[in-house]
Symmetry: C2
Amino acid sequence: VPRSRVTIRDVASHAGVSHQTVSRVINNSERVSPETRLRVESAIKELGYRPNAIARFMAEGRTRTFACIAPNLSDYTFASIIEGAQREARARGYFVLTASALDEDDFASLVDQIIISGRTEGLMLINPYLDNRYSMLPEKFPTVFLAACPEREKVNSVTIDDFAAAQIATRHLIELGHQQIAMITGPLAEDCTQNRIAGYHSVLREAGLEANQELIIEGDWTATSGLNAVQKFLSSGIPYTAIFAQNDRMAVGAIRALREAELHVPDNISVIGFDDMPLAAYFDPPLTTIRQDMHRIGRQAVRMLIQAMESSNITPQHVRLPAKLVVRKTTKSLDIQ
Amino acid sequence: VPRSRVTIRDVASHAGVSHQTVSRVINNSERVSPETRLRVESAIKELGYRPNAIARFMAEGRTRTFACIAPNLSDYTFASIIEGAQREARARGYFVLTASALDEDDFASLVDQIIISGRTEGLMLINPYLDNRYSMLPEKFPTVFLAACPEREKVNSVTIDDFAAAQIATRHLIELGHQQIAMITGPLAEDCTQNRIAGYHSVLREAGLEANQELIIEGDWTATSGLNAVQKFLSSGIPYTAIFAQNDRMAVGAIRALREAELHVPDNISVIGFDDMPLAAYFDPPLTTIRQDMHRIGRQAVRMLIQAMESSNITPQHVRLPAKLVVRKTTKSLDIQ
DNA sequence: ATGAAAGCGCTAACAT
DNA sequence: ATGTTAGCGCTTTCAT
């Protein structure tokens, strides 16, 4: 690990100026005469000088780096959010240090190592639901929760409008003539699950339909949990003609279980998912779903982080992004069956 | 962005020692008496002192940070590799700065900002194939290519053993009685594509089968390209009973095209994919494929990076990880048709 | 075992 | 418009 790099002072003596003048040149300060600037610039080129970022951070007291912590980095929803955040951050001169936190202890050490240590200037926390890790965050550190927002009074958040999105999904099913609509939810402890349940109920109510509590089963976002949920529906014997799964993975699991029970989607049962995951259109049948724009969530979070750093406004902001219906082949009108 | 943090000197005066002694304590140096250590430690606790990472980097001349650059961060293969790399890095006291590079210019500025600037100590470059970006890398900077290895003489790499993996896939098909095996490849410019083609050919040869050049069509890793490839096979009229797609997305696209042509998988045509992507088992039929361990690729890359930094050995290392067959339902014996 | 001095490469504040 | 002086918070010599 060599440190023998060209510094600002080497450039200075080579150009016959003070190091401060070099600093002014590389920072595009106005207060440099055109001739001096040229002389310095050519010295920079000749010596191959490049500014040292760490020294800059040290002197400025800022790192131009954000932390992004997620339960894991490979889930396509998380990965897409990170991608969006990273792009926006970079466009604004920041970089993103990404890390996954397995459990509370891991999270605590992460917070210590990348926040308390001063390595980063802001934190994006994706899906802060596992345990109550958010309680370990330092006060007043610029933070945005992504894809969920517990602790509304304290922390900024960016999510889609889960309530409205669930309304859209439910309404789609009702417009197709479905009256008994089962739902496979995410973990009930998560607010996005609750908001989607609320959206579903609100549409049933406005349609004058009665919700059957037994038609709502809690899943855990995995395909397996979707499969298990359908098996429960099946053995309960309660009639239903459509299923609203709160994510695509569970929808796919549900369709598998339905097929195993020799029920055809969408002829016997309609299924709508949520997310519009990669290859959703390549499942059989192609999955009808609600698309959420993960990139945009990430981009928005970065904007809020920067805003939170610049203004000293302490009131948490909550941004709800719209989601939209993508009709493919797993939903069908009841009438034409 | 407040800088008003407790420093090593605050702790020192609070404990009645020099700041150097405090430094020794936080670095677990032997040369501190037990009593002093205790006194310092309690001062640290009382004041809530935490070391500043940037100042440490500055003084040590190292950042304990790696860069990881990929074409994008949301592709599940890339994301899984990053996840693995990040875990291993953290276990060894490093963090990972991830970024996606759209094009050559973007890549060049990335290299300048996170490598030349001294922010990172090593680089992991995932899929270095787009344009010839690797030519912009500085000499002698610890670098590992992941999931591909152009420039074998110059740069370390971690990939799976693509040749052997393709042999396994092809052999599986041959053992099921298939003799005319079509292949949908990745971009021909990528060495992993070529290695998989070579593995395929070697098994055909060892089985005494003749390869038909027209049964090999170049794809671009997308589902659409798999779909298009099958349409070409179909219109060419050349007989085949199985398809080996060089990734799962193309396999899924191929299956879609086959279905549209009313060909049943696996009864009429067997299909094997590559990667074992998430939900591969939830497609219809569940996808037979070759599993590669992306996490392990990422972990291995970090180990090599650290090794490359520690030893001054300049000879590039190339690690080939094994892949394994996962038989599900898209392949079937010809005999029992 | 402890302290003092120097410096990492830069920016900021204050000269001139 | 340019130079000088101080740090930023730490680690690394080198003394004692």
